[in-house]
């Protein structure tokens, strides 16, 4: 009898979980989109979800777990994007004896060199895989370096000062990329060699699972990390800086570690984004797309909960896509007075932020108090202690 009760309780618990409710809504919306527009729109959504989930999870590590007001997420994303745009292509070109120095990113040279690299990559899957891994490693390394450099002056500033200086640094990076054409071509976007060329027309179908696997690996890594003693340090720092200091925590060191790991992951997200689009347009790396949207995703999903972040990214990306593809059907009244319904995307973003702050302060899937160890292991440890 008792086991029966236990099972039904467990079942009830599962049914009442917020994750399940949000998941059902997401599945319903996806099914609706699939029925009305076909599979391609689903694939586009999935790619965006994976890239932005990576970026938002890194933001969650810094802002959600450590409590740093990271308003310059775009800086690390730009570091990854520019590194993938500038470095791996040059390495390949120098091995192939093509122009690889300063002239690589000039538009007259770039559009001849990159197709040749692509031809080479398309000839062997091993080389494509190696190129992809090289891109990810370079993106992560440059992100970590940039994150460390930014953290040096920023780490000692207080809340608002810190957030605003990061915002300014992010904007400055964008302008440097837009004007300095050696880096990634400046105002004429440089092309990026495509490791997925080998699959030809099926490129899209392959990108989705590959990116998804990368996102899941990062998700598992962050989940492990935030449950480790290091993760508890982060939360201690967020909840009360004074008591963390009193407990002997080196605040500057922990903050720096969090910023460097976050920047590394965000840069990988930026690198994947560039590989997916195939070119680096510096002017497109705005703080709206890569700082404010991730903040909205994180706040909707739930600050300090990685599952929630995934759900938030999924839900908002679907809503965004729906505004874009149904703009003439649903918002014809706006078109009648000459207004482009695409601006509703900003309204949606702003409204989501405000509604979440006012009525749903903990997000869709709130942060849970996590046990440090599974219950049976705690019991074992306690039993050993008593002996």
């Amino acid at each position: 009898m008792t086991t029966q009760n236990g099972i039904s309780d467990k079942f009830k618990n599962i049914l009442l979980r917020r994750e399940l409710h949000v998941g059902i809504i997401i599945a319903a919306l996806l099914a609706f989109l699939y029925a009305s527009r076909g599979i391609n729109i689903i694939l586009t959504i999935l790619i965006q979800v994976t890239i932005f989930a990576i970026i938002t999870m890194s933001l969650n590590l810094e802002s959600g777990y450590t409590g740093i007001p990271q308003f310059g997420r775009v800086a690390a994303v730009i570091a990854g994007a520019f590194a993938v745009g500038g470095i791996p292509g040059r390495i390949m070109a120098s091995f192939m004896g093509l122009p690889s120095g300063r002239e690589y990113t000039l538009d007259t040279v770039n559009f001849k060199v990159v197709p040749e690299i692509n031809n080479l990559l398309a000839s062997s899957w091993l080389m494509s895989l190696g190129f992809l891994i090289m891109c990810i490693v370079i993106a992560g390394a440059s992100g970590a370096i940039i994150g460390w450099l930014i953290s040096r002056p920023a780490i000692r500033l207080k809340e608002a000062y810190l957030g605003i200086s990061m915002l300014a640094i992010g904007d400055f990076f964008m302008w440097v990329g837009h004007n300095w054409n050696l880096l990634v071509g400046g105002s004429t976007p440089a092309n990026v060699p495509d490791p997925f060329r080998i699959f030809g027309a099926a490129r899209f179908n392959v990108i989705v699972p590959v990116f998804f696997v990368i996102a899941i690996i990062i998700f598992i890594y962050l989940n492990k990390l935030t449950r480790s003693p290091f993760g508890r340090n982060l939360r201690m720092l967020r909840d009360n800086e004074l008591s963390a200091n009193a407990a002997g925590l080196n605040i500057v060191k922990v903050r720096t570690q969090s910023l460097v790991i976050g920047a590394c992951i965000a840069a990988i997200g930026g690198g994947l984004y560039v590989l997916y689009t195939g070119s680096v347009a510096a002017i497109g790396m705005t703080r709206l797309t890569f700082t404010f949207w991730p903040w909205a995703y994180m706040m909707l999903g739930g600050v300090g909960s990685n599952v929630g972040v995934f759900m938030g990214v999924f839900l908002l990306t679907i809503l965004r896509t729906m505004i874009i593809i149904f703009r003439s059907q649903w918002f014809g009244f706006l078109l009648a007075v000459g207004i482009d319904p695409l601006w509703l995307e900003f309204t949606l973003l702003g409204a989501v932020i405000i509604i979440v702050i006012l009525f749903l302060p903990h997000g869709l899937v709130p942060e849970k108090v996590e046990a440090m160890l599974p219950a049976n292991r705690v019991k074992k440890v306690m039993a050993q202690r008593e002996l």
Partner: protein, 312 residues
Amino acid sequence: MAPWLSSGLVYASGLALTAGSVTLLYIVTRTFNFAVASMATIGFYTVYTGVTLFGGLPYQYYPFAFIVGSITGFICYYGLNRPLLRRQAIETTLMMSTLGYDLILLSMIQMYADFLTHTYKIFPRRVTMSLFDFELFGDRAAAFILPVIAIGFLTILHIFLTKTKFGVAMRATIENPILAGASGINSDRVYLVSWIIGGGMAALGGSFMAMAMTGTPVMGMYTIPLMFAGAILGGLGSIYGGILGGLVIGLTEYAGVFLLSQQFGPWVLGYRMGIPLFIMAATLLVFPRGLSGIPLLKIIKNFAEQKRGARA
């Protein structure tokens, strides 16, 4: 006047007002107001609508810009800031809430620009406001009129804060909210008035800045790091500090670009945003609490004492 100085003065007086607005709202409500960007753009579009649809000079529509900005500040306070202040939300939450408001305002500005294009067949997406200006002493009039308006506005604000009863109550709330509340000052009304003044100042500043740069719907979005840099340079301690910070940031940007492009060539123009940010970083390294943290009075006193000592 040299061309860089005249446009620099126009731009800097606009930036001074917006930075002052950011500082005012921060010291009164602890809110770092992101919506200052869209409020500034709204001020510009109010003036632009007046000039193109009803004619006349831009200057005569500045009162309307102030009023429209005040209304956006009023809505922001009642809809958003008041519930959060009552809940004693943390600084980051307050900041994010104004960001949400800013994005909604931005989408409305964009829709309004579309509406203007469709209905009146004008082009509000790339506007050179200085075309509507007139000439004074062989230079553009804005270079003389706008600093005068800004100084006049600040004088009125100063008189309001120091001579009127409500202004004194406001300063008391800024200094110590709990004590002010205990002595019977209605802090709710103080917050409301500061949002109204702050919104109006931001809109006025935006309409000033449009006289020196190209007016676009995203103009506030591009300049908001500079507005914040001005406020931070001022030290986020007093309104006058913020205004001074904005002035310094605006003038150094124009002067720096002028000097460096003469020295190194026109490619410097692309990195113009770096100059004020560099100055902000350098100032914060030397004076971590901004310009208002410089112990000016103490320095003068020391200097005077030294002189006296030398005489004795």
